[in-house]
Amino acid sequence: MLIDFNSEKPIYLQLAEAIEDNILKGIFEEETQIVSTTEISVKYKINPATAGKGVNVLVDEGILYKKRGLGMFVSAGAKEKILEKRRNSFYKEYVQSLLEEAAKLSISKEDIIKMIVGGNGIEDNSDKGSK
């Protein structure tokens, strides 16, 4: 698990996102135990209250759950929940900024579509994806 503490987001949110990333990548599998908050705090030298707050965000969203006396587990269906959440924010976080940047560079929507389909430059259609 890698956390870039240089983001302006609060540490607990960065931690929550890093755990989500690991679930998406299958490093933390559903119905298995994840590292304890203590291990997280020690490894990243973050206050245990901060680590706990990050983990609790995911507990509240039903992505993680606590097993008494055992620790923190990934919920069944957690991956799907994260995917849904991220898909919902995909337009705002990626598509919108892509369109804004393209507008600055005078790249038309048609050209963007061509790039996506062709996977490369505007003129270059030699990729296997295009016919």
């Binding site: 503490f5 908050t37 020690v42 030298k45 973050i46 245990p48 804004e100």
Partner: protein, 286 residues
């Protein structure tokens, strides 16, 4: 025995007011950072909390009981002082035994184990320890004290990067295992920024801020980019720590992270980043 109340405390030395009507409530089982410039009164405050010196006015209570000449209360506070106050000619391992006499909950085995992990030779006499190892020795004693309240005055003084890393990790692991009230007085602000839950900042003997680090950092952000564009962005905004290198400029804006003007930054091709506790500290204590 974990909550500390500092009520209207002043300490006057001759004509100098080292502390001026300080009111602070330290909640139990949290890690605090006590920050302040040289001579701000940090050590005076720690000395007062442990009854080594007495306040000119005001009082200090631990769970409602005064610390003044109160051995029962003081037996629950362990204070890692910046200066060495242990007998110079004594060997480290003997001092561990000696501490056990005063702090019955002191864990000698843990102290020995930690010493080994830090590479501290416990057969050595205190006077033969280097600055770094003298700090390690005192920090180990504090970590192993098992006291309800542990105060650290410059715990990492002279420690190399590896040992500092080990110290913070051990501190967190120790705290997670047996929660206690911890106060760390230090000048290495960025290093403790994520370790501490709350920052207490004192300046010229006065308390100027006591706030959670997270709250403090969410009230400021960094903006950077081409100098004239940064100037445009920060116009009319309260800023600190403006740095320029050539035509590149960065500034810390004192405004809630949520209120940043993303559209304007986009237009000006500026980038946002995280505010540093150290920069906030510098501007608050200047």
């Amino acid at each position: 025995m974990k909550t500390i109340q500092i009520k209207g405390v002043s300490k006057v030395y001759g004509h100098t007011k080292a502390l001026d009507k300080v009111d602070i409530t330290i909640e139990s089982n949290r890690i605090y950072g006590l920050l302040g410039r040289n001579g701000a009164g940090k050590t005076t405050l720690l000395n007062l909390m442990t009854n080594r010196i007495f306040p000119t006015e005001g009082e200090i209570l631990i769970d409602g009981e005064t610390v003044f000449e109160n051995d029962r209360v003081l037996g629950n506070i362990f204070y890692m002082t910046e200066k060495n106050l242990y007998p110079e000619d004594e060997r480290v391992r003997n001092i561990y035994k000696w501490i056990k006499e005063f702090y019955p909950s002191f864990d000698v085995e843990y102290a020995k184990d930690l010493s080994e992990r830090f590479g501290l030779d416990t057969k050595k006499k205190v006077k033969s320890l280097s600055t770094g190892y003298a700090s390690i020795f005192k920090a180990v004693a504090a970590l192993a004290s098992n006291a309800d309240i542990v105060l650290f005055d410059e715990p990492v003084l002279g420690l190399d990067a590896n040992h500092r890393d080990m110290f913070y990790k051990e501190l967190i692991s120790n705290y997670s295992e047996s929660p206690k009230t911890i106060i760390i007085s230090t000048h290495l602000i960025e290093e403790v920024a994520s370790v501490i839950e709350e920052a207490i900042i004192i300046k010229e003997g006065k308390l100027i801020l006591k706030q959670s680090v997270e709250e403090l950092l969410s009230g400021a952000y960094l903006v950077s980019g081409e100098a004239s564009k940064v100037d445009k962005y920060i116009q009319g905004r309260k800023c600190i720590g403006i740095d320029a290198i050539g035509s590149f400029k960065s500034a810390t804006v004192l405004e809630a992270v949520n209120n940043k003007d993303e559209a304007l930054a986009e237009e000006l091709e500026l980038e946002f980043g995280k505010a540093e506790l150290q920069k906030l500290f510098i501007s608050l204590t200047n």
